[in-house]
Amino acid sequence: MKTSEQVLSELLAAMPEVKVSLLVNPSASAQHSLLVASEDALRVAAYLRDQLGYDYCSNVTGVDWLDKETTEKRKTSRIVLKQVDGVEQSVEETVEETVKRVDPGYLEAVYHLFSMKHGPTDPHPPLVIRMRTGNRSDAVELPSLTPVWRSAEFQEREIFDLYGIVFRGHRDLRRLLMWDEFEDHPMRRDYVDPDDYEYEPTPHDDVLKRAEQQRLQAAQGGAL
């Protein structure tokens, strides 16, 4: 079976216009992955399944990469007008300034593919493909690969549930593990646990009473 690099070159040879790049995995496992642009993903996936024999999508999962804030010191040179010896001159001057750069975070969907067609005769490492959303708040749509691999059906629902990636074209995108009324996405890195896990607005008397009290408190706090 082919390595990720070979798959990449074959893909690009067949479909030169798609945006696919190789992400190198530095760990000992050396399972490199292909980063696929979301608009091309469905085509790439169908090609992988039908032409390259990756008929089995084993694992589908999400990863949350937070906004990365990097501070770096930069030296910039600029020309300033200065009074030098009474005459105004433009002088070059180096200024050191700290620049804060925020790399926007994104959500990632990772698919691990194997080939059953080539089966036990041809051992191979997983082919990993990844898709990234634009950011973590409003541009969280990705195309669903469930039409290509049915095994992604529940796993994409799970990602939607736990990470909040919206899979376009999924036939039944509902929460899988959390209940339907749940609001947050608990697997996100910045998810804040509730104080009291037992506290849920359920139709039990004392809990309802507590919920009412909290609501009143909140209202009073708001008024103050």
Partner: protein, 384 residues
């Protein structure tokens, strides 16, 4: 890319005369045969199933989040609790993924111990799966009790090895936690010698039973192309005739050294799944008979691995094994700290349920229970 024609595999649509006359039944979460807390929202036309939606999450505890908040080692006991029937194989899959991530070698003796415990696990899992399937079929627990009698003996072995019957927490990154206690190998040899008799007993009780055949042959048929596309693994997949056993595909551990065969079904129905479990038990006994006498002396843990302060280099790895229920994979991303950045379990139980709807539609309500039982799931793994 709307012009793209992709062949998708979708569940069939069952035509009904009138949507109003359907009987909507919520099977579960408290139902005798949902193996825990699991719900199927079923719409019945008479006793024929026309719609089925599985509902998960009653046992959800966000295992993955817990694992991302603790160290690599501290997740090991939690893996026991995924598929609580097969803690040994869960341990192995997790250890394998970490070993891939950090490039740790496993000593030979530890590999043998892993194979022995994993195959014992497979036998007791398959035996209980058959027992539960027959329980669903209404056999008042007799096959289940026979299976549990045998399982009890195997669990005794696990207890004297690891200290616990079900929550073994036995494997470590780069080996196993403790070496065999005195006399364990003889006890294991005795247990393995008794296993063929037990399998014969189960077969005498069930295999040629006409009622079992009538109930299971031709029921819950799964086609191989759908099975592959839906990522079904394990016995479910091989019952359709697809030859795919991760032990043979990935050659993980030291499975190369043993001669064993992979039984394959043909029809992909419940009877094939039942028979494949029986045959796989026989193959596992074969592996055990080879592995126990060959067990070499030596260390059981890679000397470089340490219990505390384990920090693999940044990167990611996906490791998988053939667990009794299917392909169990762990996907880990390390950011160089002591906790995994991303920890993901690929649960075979959940993914094998993807096609539950496809298999059940158009069948009888009594068959739904059977089909569900033949998938062999554990809710601890489905919901995580």
């Amino acid at each position: 890319m709307s012009d793209l024609a992709i062949q998708s595999y979708l569940p069939p649509v069952i035509e009904v005369e009138s949507q109003d006359e359907l009987l909507e039944v919520a099977m579960g979460p408290h139902h005798p045969s949902t193996h825990g807390v699991f719900r199927m929202d079923v719409a019945l036309d008479g006793e024929r199933v026309v719609r089925l939606k599985p509902v998960f999450g009653y046992l959800h505890r966000n295992h993955e989040k817990i694992a991302e908040k603790t160290t690599y080692l501290a997740s090991m006991p939690y893996t026991d609790r995924l598929d609580y029937f097969c803690s040994m194989t869960n341990n192995w899959a997790y250890a394998l993924a970490v070993e891939k991530l950090a490039g740790i070698e496993v000593p030979e003796r530890a590999e043998y111990l892993r194979v022995i415990t994993a195959e014992l696990t497979r036998i007791q899992n398959h035996a209980s799966a058959i027992g539960f399937l027959l329980q669903e079929m209404g056999a008042s627990g007799t096959p289940l009790m026979y299976a549990f009698r045998e399982r009890e003996i195997i669990l005794d072995l696990f207890e004297s090895l690891s200290g616990s019957r079900m929550m073994c927490n036995y494997m470590r990154f780069g080996g196993c936690r403790v070496d065999l206690p005195a006399g364990w190998l003889d006890a294991a040899r005795q247990v393995v010698a008794g296993l063929p008799r037990f399998i014969d007993e189960i077969e005498a009780l069930l295999t040629s039973n006409e009622i079992l055949m009538a109930r299971s042959q031709g029921v819950g048929i799964l086609k191989p192309d759908l099975a592959i596309n839906a990522g079904v693994t394990g016995v479910m997949l091989r019952a359709t005739g697809v030859n795919y056993d991760v032990r043979k595909v990935d050659h993980y551990g030291i499975y190369d050294r043993f001669s064993f065969r992979v039984p394959l079904g043909e029809h992909g129905d419940i009877y094939d799944r039942y028979m494949l479990r029986v045959l796989e038990m026989r193959e596992s006994v074969k592996i055990l008979e080879q592995a126990i006498p060959q067990l070499p002396a030596g260390p059981i843990l890679d000397p470089k691995s340490k219990p505390r302060g384990f920090r693999p280099k940044p990167g990611e790895a996906y490791g998988r094994i053939e667990a009794p229920k299917g392909e169990l994979g762990f996907y880990l991303i390390s950011d160089g700290t002591g906790n995994p950045y991303r920890y993901r379990v690929r649960p075979p139980s959940l993914i094998n349920l993807t096609i539950l709807e496809d298999m059940c539609l158009g069948q009888n309500v009594a068959d739904v229970v059977l089909i569900f039982g033949s998938v062999d799931i554990v809710l601890g793994e489905v919901d995580r």
